[in-house]
Structures are given as C-alpha cells and as structure tokens.
C-alpha cells in the first residue's frame, strides 16, 4: 500500500461509501430541480453535504480532515477552482476550503471529482459533529508528545454518519492536539482534547467541554484529566449523548453544549457522563491498541534524512540574506528532527484577502509539497498552509520558489497574519464586511520589518456575532455590527486561544471602517511607545490594562 504521508489512506469500502453518498445526493439535487423537493425539504439535505446558499451563489465547503491533505488533493482543489468556480478557493478557520461561486446543478460533478482523491463535503454543515481539527504541526513539532492525527482519524470515522448524532441540538466541533502548547484552541471547542503520553506508553487524553465563541463566548472546562486511550471513544460518546439528551432544542441561541455545561455546572455534567458510562456497553466502545495501530498503519511516515551540515547551511543563508532571515524568524517552527524545519506559508499577502489562494497558487503549492515536504500540506486554523518536513538546507530554495508566486510574506503570528471570515462580501448572515478592513490593515502594516518590530500581535475579524473569524480570541478582535444598514466595528482587546485562553474585552463604542483602521494604528503606536523591553502586545496589555489603549484608540473620535 502506498499510503500518503500525514493522512489516512482510503480503502475500497471508504470509496464505495462515498460513491453511494454522491449518488444519493445527486438524486436529491435532481428532485430539487424538478420541484419534487421544496427548498425547505432540500435545505437540510444540501447542508449535510456542505452546500450553502450564500449571498451571490451556492458555496461548497469541503472537509479537510485534521487539516491535512496531499499534493494530489490540493491539485484537485485547483481544478475545482478553475473548472467550477472563479479560479480561487478560500481556506477557513476550521481547516476546510470553501468555493464561493458554485452552481447547484454542477455539485454532483464536483463531488465526484473530489471523490477521485478521497475527499468529500459531508458534515461540513448541519447539526452534527463537524470536521475534527488538529494541530497544524502534528507529527513534526519538536514540542509534540503524541501525533494527534491518528486519533483525529479515529474520531472522524466514529463521528461520520453516527446514527445518534446526526441531529444534535446544534453543530458540534472537536479539536485534538498532541502538544503541551495548545495550537488548536482546545478550550474554545465543544470538546477540546489534549493528548499526552501515559505511563504504559499509550496516550492519555485531557478533555475540555463547553468552550466556544459565537454569541456567548465561553472557555471550555476540564471534564477529565486523564482518559486512557481505550476509553476515549466511550467517553466522547457519553459526553455527546448527555448533550444530545439534555441540550436545548427550543432556542437556537442556547442550543450549544456550552450553554448546557453552564446550566448544569461542570461537576454535574461530569456526573451525568459518568452515569452514562456506567450503563454503556464499554466493551463495544473499547479502543484497543490493535485498532489504533491498524489506523496508524494507513498513514505513511516520512523518512527523514538530511545531510549533517543542513543546519549550518541554513544558518549561512540567513546570515547573508536579511530578508530570508526575517522570513525564517516568523514563518518557521522547530522540527523534531535536527536537520528539518516546519515552514508556514502565509496566505496573507499585504493588502490581500486572508485565506484565499488562486488555482495557480494551489497547483504551485502542490508541486512544492512534492518537492520539499513528502507531498503533504496542512491547512491551519489561522488560514495559512504548512509544509511540515522541509530539509533545512533546502529551505532557502523553497522560500525563493514561494516568492515567485507571492506566497513569501514574512508575517506568521504578526500583525499582518490577519484572520478574517468571508463577511458581508459573501456570507448571508453577515452584518459587515470583514475582508476590506483586513485588506486595509494588512496594507497599513504590510512592511515586514515594521511587523517584526511590532512583534506577536494577532488580529481576528468576524463579520457577525457567529465569530467565524474568532474575534473573541484575537489579541485585537474586530466584530462587524450593523447600525441602521451601515457597517461598524467593535474592537476587543486581550483575547487569546493558546494556553491560558481568554476572551477579549470590548474597548469602547463601535466605529466605522476607516475610523477603526485609524484607531488600531494609534493603538499599535501607543503600544510601541509604552512597552518595556521584550514585552509583547499582550504583556503590555496585561501589565497596564486597556486604559492607555482606549485613550489612544478613541483620541480623535
């Protein structure tokens, strides 16, 4: 078997299942077009297949399980962008891809094309367990304890078409990480899982429940500290069962698990889960080492070998090329193998649309993945692309190749690395446009040296309270609000999704777009003026509170 690096290899039964599902949906599309299905009847069916009706057209959201794809799959995205869309796709904060200009009548053909590379759009919408997200540095990071993707795949198989969990009170999002440094925003998910090594060499899992953003942002609480691997599925099954039984279905705004956990309290929720576990057939849900190993065998492992002098070569390049050095500083992460490095390709060119990639860029990224990273690519929840296993002595060549396709912005984790949802330019639910203000901010702070000087500072923008741009978790968050049909932005400060997660607090009254950009520029200037040596924006904010920033932001308003 020629398994892909980084993700699960489908077998015949997986492919037959997908083909049958596409035939079923194709029949539903035909019946919708001929009028045998009304829009009300069809809507839940199309949503379960990732198809939305947005402002200007249908939008198809394709699942990228745990954010990992191979080069063939990326080329298929490029093909879909070219053939069925307007030559681009949008990578989302849930590690998926969306195509914005889809025709209903062509959807079955698109799904058939996706199935050729073992991809689909199932459960990317609807009140079910959505695509499981994971650490973008999984299997590569030096600080990783367990590669979480094998367990993410197990969760994918468990949750896909789960008969009990197809009509939950509301959508349900799970993230899993295998590093002590939370890169998946575990505490902002319905269920967040952090894996670590157990005494017997098998992983154990720390589980958080009831986190989320949206209208009611809440930080998830720990429900179990150390669930053994063999109890993982049983435990998750019990957690979701309790939610399915007791979550509210009468009010869409109170239907997420976070509301139930708040209502019951974490201790009572835990007791309910334990009671559920007591009466479950645990043997049926037991995840044996053999089962895990069988799934693991469907993942290829990269054969890492690098020349002894790989690091020296990289250092020499950095010394002679300051521009490259700047990029390496912001856009790479230490690899567990001394001769390798993780490269993050920014999809945030100055003044560009965060997360968008053209078909030509996707094709090129696929080629570069083949050339430099075992054909594997990861989509990050911050809307960038990771090449996980790059030889250090080849990083300079990769950077040069990225420059040729305008993908070498040196801004990961910096102010130009803006996360933005599609907003009112595309989204039927939006109050305000997220992209133009992201473009203005991106252009304002585009200079790589200025960004490096400002240091770690993340801006997140959502076009409405649904918070797809995770504004509550942004160091600076912007929320689009509608004031009598016009767009305003509310600024929040101090959000963070990593370890020590917190929700940003509102700085003051919402401002129109251009005033918001100016306010943020003043706020950043204020930070540069008052920070102490070595302080990040969050450090300064934590030390002084938001008063100086508030004064700066609203100075001339």
């Amino acid at each position: 078997m020629n398994a892909p690096v980084g993700h699960y290899q489908y077998d015949q039964s997986d492919r037959e299942f997908l083909a049958a599902r596409i035939d079923e949906f194709s029949g539903q599309v035909t019946r919708r077009i001929d009028g045998s299905l009304s829009e009300d009847e069809f809507k839940p069916l199309r949503l379960m297949n990732g198809l939305y009706l947005q402002l200007h057209a249908y939008m198809l959201r394709v699942a990228i399980p745990y954010g990992t794809i191979d080069s063939q799959q990326m080329r298929m995205f490029a093909h879909i962008a070219r053939r069925y869309d307007r030559d681009y796709g949008h990578f989302t904060t849930r590690q998926n891809i969306q195509f914005n200009w889809i025709k209903l009548e062509e959807t079955p053909d698109i799904l058939r094309d996706l199935a050729k590379v073992d991809m689909h759009a199932i459960q990317t919408s609807g009140n079910c367990i959505r695509n499981v997200t994971s650490d973008e540095f999984a299997g590569a990071a030096a600080d990783e304890v367990v590669d979480p993707r094998v367990h993410a795949e197990i969760l994918r198989q468990w949750s896909t078409l789960h008969p009990e969990f197809t009509f939950l009170p509301r959508k349900f999002k799970i993230a899993i990480s295998g590093s002590p440094n939370d890169r998946v925003a575990a505490r902002f998910h319905d269920i967040g899982i952090l894996a670590r090594s157990g005494a017997d060499g098998r992983p154990v899992f720390r589980i958080f429940v009831g986190g989320g953003l949206g209208r009611t942002p809440i930080i998830g609480q720990e429900i179990f500290d150390a669930v053994p691997e063999e109890r993982l599925l049983a435990t998750l099954e019990a957690i979701v069962r309790v939610y399915n039984a007791h979550g509210r279905r009468d009010n869409i705004y109170k239907a997420r698990i976070k509301i139930l956990v708040q209502a019951l309290g974490i201790d009572a929720y835990r007791e309910a889960v334990e009671a559920e576990l007591q009466q479950m057939d645990l043997e049926h849900y037991r995840l044996t080492p053999e089962m895990v190993d069988a799934i693991r065998a469907r993942f290829a492992v990269p054969e890492l070998s690098a020349p002894d002098n790989a690091s020296q070569e990289l250092s020499a390049r950095r010394e002679t090329n300051p521009e490259f050095d700047l990029w390496v500083r912001s856009n790479t992460h230490p690899h567990r193998d001394a001769g390798h490095i993780i490269a993050v390709v920014s999809l945030k060119p100055a003044g560009g649309i965060p997360g968008d990639a053209t078909s030509a860029q996707m094709d090129r990224l696929a080629d570069l993945a083949d050339e430099y990273s075992f054909g594997e690519l990861r989509i990050t929840h911050l809307q960038n692309i990771v090449l996980g296993h790059v030889r250090q002595d080849r990083l300079y060549d990769l950077w040069q190749a990225l420059k040729e396709v305008d993908l070498a912005s040196a801004n990961i984790g910096l102010i130009g690395d803006i996360v933005a949802c599609p907003g009112l330019d595309y989204c039927a639910l939006a109050n305000a446009r997220s992209i133009p203000i992201a473009q203005k901010l991106g252009a304002r702070f585009g200079d790589a040296t200025l960004q490096a000087e400002i240091g770690a500072l993340r801006i997140n923008i959502s076009g409405c309270i649904n918070a797809c741009g995770h504004h509550h978790a942004g160091h600076i968050g912007l929320l689009g609000v509608d004031k009598r049909g016009e767009e305003f932005f509310q600024i929040t400060l101090g959000g963070r999704a990593e370890n020590g997660a917190s929700i940003g607090t509102i700085l003051g009254p919402a401002l129109p777009e251009d005033d918001t950009v100016d306010a943020i520029a003043r706020l950043v200037d204020c930070y540069l003026g008052i920070r102490q040596r070595g302080e990040t924006f969050l450090d300064t904010l934590d030390r002084l509170g938001d008063v100086p920033f508030k004064e700066a932001a609203y100075e001339t308003v």
């Binding site: 919708r32 077009i33 009028g35 009304s38 829009e39 009706l53 947005q54 402002l55 200007h56 057209a57 249908y58 307007r86 200009w101 889809i102 025709k103 209903l104 009548e105 649309i353 009112l424 330019d425 595309y426 939006a430 305000a432 446009r433 992209i435 133009p436 473009q439 509608d482 049909g485 016009e486 767009e487």
Partner: protein, 105 residues
C-alpha cells in the same frame, strides 16, 4: 428569508431572490420576469408589495428562483438598495471588482 423591511421617505420596495440552478441574485421586473440587474427591478409601493410577493413566492419553483423577499431601495433610477447588504447583493462582492454584476459576471 422574510425580514421586516422599513420603508423610509423617498424609498420603494423591489423583489429579489436567488436563481435555483446557480444561486445568482435576481430582481423581479415589471413583467414578473427575474432579471440579473437591480436596474430592471420593478419598484413597488409598500402597500402593493404583499400581493406581488405572495404571487412571486407561489411561482418560485416554476420561475426557477428560491428565497423571494422584498428589499428597500432609494426611489432613483436605477434603484439603489438602502442597506450595505443589499447593495453588495445588487452589485457583487466589493473585494473582487472583476466579479461585479456590472462587469457582466
């Protein structure tokens, strides 16, 4: 997609929907046809809209449209939607001028 629409002074209502087959935005003209440009939309008085809306909704499947609703516009020629949302629907995403309705896309 029904939402309360306030009609202010100097404003009228037009009907809009998405085309069933490709989701593209359309506007109902004087003859009851669905046109791609807001300029073709028939402007209706607030008290006349509910009958026309009801009829258009009843014919939606036959006409190949989905989600028919009314939109407030300024009573100028061509009519200009009052809210940012509806202006973006009428003219296309602001971040891709090449995809604007006026560019013929």
């Amino acid at each position: 997609m029904k939402r309360p629409v306030r009609v202010g002074a100097g404003e009228k209502l037009v009907l809009t929907a998405n085309r069933l087959l490709d989701g593209r935005i359309v506007w109902r003209d004087h003859d009851g046809h669905w046109a791609a440009r807001v300029g073709a939309a028939e402007k209706l008085d607030a008290d006349a809209v509910s009958d026309v809306l009801e009829e258009a909704q009843a014919r939606a499947q036959q006409d190949g449209v989905v989600g028919v609703y009314e939109v407030a516009v300024r009573d100028v020629d061509p009519p200009e939607p009052v809210t940012v949302r509806e202006r973006i629907r009428a003219h296309g995403p602001t971040v891709h001028p090449e995809f604007s309705v006026e560019a013929g896309q």
